[in-house]
Amino acid sequence: MMQIRDELTMLRYRSNNTFSCPVVIRTPIGGYLRGGAPYHSQSGESIFAHCPGIRVVFPSNAVDAAGLLRTSIRCDDPVLFLEHKHLYRQTYNKGVYPGPEYTIPMGRAAVRRDGTDVTVITWGALVQRSLLAAQQAEKDGISVRVIDLRTIVPCDWDTIGTAVRETNRIVVAHEDQLTAGFGAEVAAHIAEHYFDFLDAPVLRVAALDTPVAYAPDLEEAILPQSSDVLAAIRKAAAY
């Protein structure tokens, strides 16, 4: 932690751009493993969003992982490349290998599903859970947009801003704990810049403020599920 927080992220800044260390750190992250328990299930991307100098990348599917990893390697900054363990081998996020020159710029969210009533801003393992919730909501007549941030630092504030202006109701859904999760930053940003466009409070869906416990029933209670996202979508729509 100290090597990342005090060294890797700061070398360029503290040396006034005379030294740099553009390392890519790949690391498996996240839960939903059944039995991952407190030390194989953690999220925590917001910790590093608070460390200026490192990019924080969090792909949700195969094609984004390829494109963003290549950008991470070819860019000149330290990158924390977060690979969700649960997403490694799913079928729903498979993709055709996009080729040896395929890159995706950082700071560009992807709209996974368009909609007009409510927007869910999400990333990582919650992308699929939010899409499932959006399908359910559609049955209730709620049109839901789902935005996959893809990179936490830099964050695509433009796509978020457009969504607030166009749908006026926002749910932020992430796997990390609620308190001081990156969703708090998103909610604060929206409140500060788009207050007049909001028709409902920004709602957050996140893990409980606890470690991730081992027993499957406990894990399920702790980590956010599709049903939690759906409940938030309904609440936002009904407000």
Binding site: L8, M10, R14, C21, I25, R26, I29, L69, P100
Partner: protein
Amino acid sequence: MPDRETLLDGYRLMLLSRKLDDKEIQLKNQSHIFFQISAAGHEAIQVAAAQHMRPGIDWAYPYYRDRAFCLGLGVTPLEMLLQGVGAKDDPASGGRQMPSHWGHTRWNIVSSSSPTGTQCLQAAGCAEATRLFATLPDLPDDERDDPDAVTYVSVGDGTTSEGEFWELLNSACQLRLPLVILVEDNGYAISVPVAAQTPGGDISRLVEGFPSLGIFRVDGTDYVESWQTMREAVAYAREGHGPAFVHASVARLYSHSLSDDERLYRTAEERAAELARDPVKKHAAWLVEHDIASQDELDAIAKTLDREVAEAVDTALVAERARPDTAELYVYSPDVDPTSDAFVTTPETEGKPDTMVAAINRTLHDEMKRNPRIVVFGQDVADASREDALAEVSGKGGVFKVTHGLQRTFGSTRVFNSPLAEANIVGRATGMATRGLKPVVEIQFFDYI
């Protein structure tokens, strides 16, 4: 034995360091600078170390007491004072770091920080980079650095209690890295004496079991002895025997820093005994006693240095300070913008859909093929550390098999296992990346960062 010129230059550098410390203390008391930490009592071993380095070819990770060492490599008094006042032209940090947080591209002094011990693993990575530049396949010859460069890293006795110091020894000895590790043991970590934190009170005894570690003990307040010892130690590392470990007993003549008052925890008697070990005075006496220089000649050196320091102070005090509108510069690279349209591409769409783990694995293969400077390491990322097993086994390639096949394809120089130590992985990668390599490392679980 050093020649006359070396002996006198050694004296000049030691005295210059002391004069700068004393001047900075004065400037701090006048609120012209905002922090001061001194090298007083450490000068002899530091100058001796610098005199055996090749400035700008060898690499250095000094710690905050290494003023005399940095002067010996070529940093000027003015450059040091520019950092003290927070000047925009401070070459170490542009006014962003406390004084004595060294850094200078011309002399290969890598920017240093305040948390003690972090420099250890970066220095290991830097020394490793020296070897990698010589051995990486497919690297054009004109991109290979000097294969004989050594990397210097220094710590105080207090830092030998940090875990990263031991992680350094672990990797340095396991890989027989060309490192010169200098422990400047002044007996105190701020107010905590060595006996209260080092079992047995003698760090060089504790490290005796490390294979390939060349251990050198020296009175670091004795310039001539220090010069001879550093010569042997640097040669040991440069000739490839392994890391050299120099345990130098030095004196701490002043408090830890100007934020500390040692009278609160050291007796008058102890402080008086420490002053008797003043390396600058001892070397002056030695030079006169051995007819190397007369007292008049030494006085003339002192006078010249006084003038040099005074001029540097005058310049530093009026130097332009770092401007507030530059505060946000260089958090990230000004050269490559990963958010830009340059990274917008069209994907190829032929083939069968595959998993995220396959996509990452293939991207790593393609990027390693494209860029010979990429090295991949971390715990369990190699297929098999014992290469001869690869004929028979399919290979581990990471606990999630994300790096599977990389070692088999690109070889063990570029893809290798690290010790089970997260700081080791990140610190070494940082040192390598500083040298221009591209480490893509794995931490096995986010939970262990």
